[in-house]
């Protein structure tokens, strides 16, 4: 096994170009489990933890650019006020030790249907910046996941950063698991209100071959909500929203839960998180923050 240790982003891209089969490793919270259990034996490991460009974030013209190597612990501490949905999801990842190591880029690279960061990124229309020695491109996160643990990366590309606007309205995230820590999601749901566009964003996880948006549910709810008058939510609207979210899923039966349970839980989480964000919008707390 070769172990490559690029010291700069440029070196990392050149290494990936020279070794397209190299497995990138950042926090190691996925890759090392596979190696420890002999499920995978990469010929080349490409260590990205020494690339300083990956561990910073910045805000330009109202858009955050978060380096792929920023760990969950820092997303929570440093960006929790700007990206509350992503921060809530990040708090449900593993344990403190895992959140110290696991990165946003690693979550996207693994592209697990159960990745906790994916639903809030979908609800906020994030874009994924990927790069190779050939150049840079950005991919809408909804197009980034192409199958179970598959993503839109070409073999010479690496994930550079995530672009996402700071929250303009309330955001929530909900996850079903057997306990509060150290669980892979049975299913997850994220919602973001975008009041300036009178639009709702959603993301669901662990309920389809890829994380995905519930587009019909978004359109329905965006049209039904009384954005300006901020009237209370009608129970029938919440009910229908939950049904549409459940319909957007295509879950399977597996060791963590049944498809029926996942559809049921998604509808419950959708109604519940909607009630939270709508109450927050009505009280106007977020807009004043």
């Amino acid at each position: 096994m070769d172990f490559l240790r690029p010291a700069t982003w440029r070196e990392a891209l050149e290494a990936k170009a020279a070794h397209p089969d190299a497995t990138p490793i950042a926090g190691g919270t996925d890759v090392m489990v596979e190696i420890n259990f002999d499920r995978r034996r990469p010929d080349v490991l490409l260590d990205l933890t020494r690339v300083p460009e990956l561990t910073t974030w910045s805000e330009t013209d109202g858009v955050l650019r978060i380096g792929a190597g920023v760990p969950y612990a820092r997303l929570i501490d440093e960006l929790g006020d700007r990206l509350p949905g992503l921060a809530i999801a990040s708090r449900t990842v593993g344990s403190p030790q895992i959140r110290n190591r696991g990165t946003l880029g690693g979550n996207l690279g693994s592209a697990s249907p159960a990745g906790d960061a994916h639903p809030p990124l979908l609800a906020s229309d994030a874009r994924i910046e990927v790069e190779s020695v050939r150049g840079t491109r950005t991919v809408p996160v909804a197009e980034f996941f192409t199958g179970v643990k598959r993503n839109a990366l070409a073999e010479d590309e690496l994930i550079a950063a995530v672009h996402v606007a700071p929250a303009s309205g309330p955001q929530q995230f909900s996850k079903v698991g057997t306990r509060n820590a150290m669980v892979i999601a049975v299913c997850t749901f994220a919602i973001a209100l975008h009041p300036e566009q009178q639009r709702v964003g959603t993301g669901l996880g662990s309920a389809a071959p890829t994380p995905r948006r519930a587009r019909d549910a978004e359109e329905f709810l965006s049209a039904e909500l009384d954005w300006a008058g901020r009237r209370p939510l009608a129970e029938s609207v919440a009910q229908r929203f939950g049904e549409l979210v459940a319909q957007a899923s295509s879950p399977i039966d597996d060791v963590r839960g049944t498809a029926d349970y996942r559809r049921h839980a998604l509808a419950v989480m959708a109604r519940r998180t909607l009630s939270w964000v709508w109450e927050e919008h009505r009280s106007g707390r977020q807009e004043c923050a």
Binding site: P42, G94, Q97, I98, A181, M182
Partner: protein
């Protein structure tokens, strides 16, 4: 590959390290530091928690090569010579050790918690230790130990 890094303040070198092996394996099998325990090898149990450049991590999930040039502090590095760290003393006094397998990880994780939050609430303690599993008996004595260590540390500072 040859690996050079600092462990508990001392420079160390290991030869013939396989690129895919974990930092935990290097510590235990190559450097003879068996304090960090090997249980789950998937970051679930916290028994192998060590500081890597001052941040608590599961050593089983760090590739050996990622530790090159870095500073590692293991449970063996908490005591000051013969004098136990206040966290270690508190675990002994509170009876928070049964089989002892989870203890090294709990000590390192508690040590970090108290460095960041000298007077943690019970909820904060539970959250900080959520990734450290004890299979002997439960967590009440461990909670007692962390509270005791926090109290001692705070008293020592005043």
């Amino acid at each position: 590959m040859r690996l050079r890094f600092t462990v508990n303040g001392q420079p160390h070198e290991a030869d013939d390290v396989w690129e895919g092996e974990s930092l935990l394996y290097v510590l235990r099998e190559r450097l003879g530091l068996p304090g960090s325990k090997n249980a789950c090898e998937q970051g679930e149990c916290g028994s192998c928690t060590v500081y890597l450049d001052g941040v608590p991590v599961c050593a089983c999930l760090v590739a050996a090569g990622q530790a090159e040039g870095r500073e590692v502090r293991t449970v063996e590095g908490l005591a000051d010579g013969e004098r136990l760290d206040p966290v270690q003393e508190a675990f002994v006094e509170a009876g928070a050790v049964q089989c002892g397998f989870c203890t090294p990880g709990l000590l390192v994780q508690t040590h970090d918690l108290l460095a960041r939050r000298p007077r943690p609430s019970d909820a904060e303690i539970r959250e900080a230790l959520a990734g450290n599993l004890c299979r002997c008996t439960g967590y009440e004595k461990i909670m007692d130990a962390v509270r005791l260590a926090a109290q001692r540390t705070a008293e020592a500072r005043t």
